[in-house]
Amino acid sequence: MKKISGRDRLLLLIMGLLAAYQIVEGISDTGTFALAAFTVAFGVLLVAGLLLIILGFDILNSPLVVIISTIVPLSLSLGLVSEHLPDWQPIYLTFAILGFLLIVITRFKLTGAFAIIPVATVHGIAGMLIFLLPIIFSIQGKTPAGFAWVGFGGALIGVGGLLLTFLKSGKPILSKDTILRVFPGLLLLMTATFVIGFAAR
């Protein structure tokens, strides 16, 4: 496994500080449920960043990584659905809980494609929601134009999640070293776009 460099640590530290800022600031005019969901998402980003700084890339070997990395898109998309499509909240909450449980079970009980399909499906749906909802609402004028940045973050989270899943499955699209080289930068960029997008909201 590639050793974590000073540059990687710096990028992750900035990412953690941005996530911490978002947690402290909260998101204006947001309901309690959505705020809790966003806090969980940024909280996982913050703690994951700190653990990567402390323990290095070796922690990515843990089978828990895929499970924990699913929490970020699921809780972010849940927050967005709760805020902007409140009628869909119960259905999406059910999907999020069932999807998460399915990932937990398949991660420990199944291997190969059977383990990848639930992760790719849940990541895909959650990622699409984070990508599309802010962009559509910005175009429709329901939210300020800057909110579309959250959508760009959604695209990045989808890329990150899939890279991580394929890395864990042993069949990476890119080499392990390349994935790990871009990973801290990708996390920082993703967090920054979320923070910019939510600030514009």
């Binding site: 911490a20 947690i23 909260g26 806090t39 909280g43 703690v47 700190l50």
Partner: protein, 284 residues
Amino acid sequence: MNKIKTKFRLYWPLIKYSQTSLLMITGLAGYMTARCPVTHLSTMLGLFLSLFLTISGSTILNMWYDRDIDAKMPRTSKRPLPAGLVTPQEVLRLGLIVSLIGTAIAVAMDPLYGLIIFGGLFIDVVLYTIWLKRKTAWSIIWGGISGGMPILAGRALGIGAVDWIGIALMFAILFWIPTHILTFSMRYREDYKLAGVPTFPSTYGDFFTRNTIAISSVLGAIVIGIAAYGIGTSWGFLRLMGVLSGGLLALAIASVIKPSETVNFGLFKYASLYMFSAMILLMF
């Protein structure tokens, strides 16, 4: 000038600057829980100086007393005293002078503050290091109480009394200290065995030690959360503290369910970072 520089280079490792810095931050945080924004720079300077000198002084005195066991442990054998770079008499003199000046400044600033600072010094040097450290693994409780004195003292200086928040903050540090000491005693178990110092791993085994680390880390996070609430910390900071506590809890559970050197050391590092972050958050 060169002589002073040489002496400074020899004396600097005697104060364990990273540990001293962290304890000083707890003292400053304790004060700032009551007095933020800080308007009395002279008090702040006095607080800074008295904490630096008394914490450094007690560490120097510990180094002086523990020089024989430090010499037996590979991890500490290169420290200035066991390495023969400074004499025991010189270190004892330095420790006493630094401690006395620090305590004198503390007493002059506020008698209650001075009393707590002196209590911390006494508990650390006399009760923990001289009396109990070589007798029982439970000596770490006294080490923890002395470690909690700077934050209690800082808070007492800020409000002019000892209140439940100050006591809670002291307990938070008390619960954090085992994470630090016990992780070290697991990582360097052979060193402690060589020196004949009783530790939790050698007395009760790894399972009990890991559980103690996990439980004390979680208790520390709970107590500091309660204290932060009592101080009136804003919801945003409380949310952040809750998130960081969640990370600590996850690592604590992992260290018990799936123990490994990496997880245990990760918990130790994270707990230190957690404590540092919590202190910063308490200041505002």
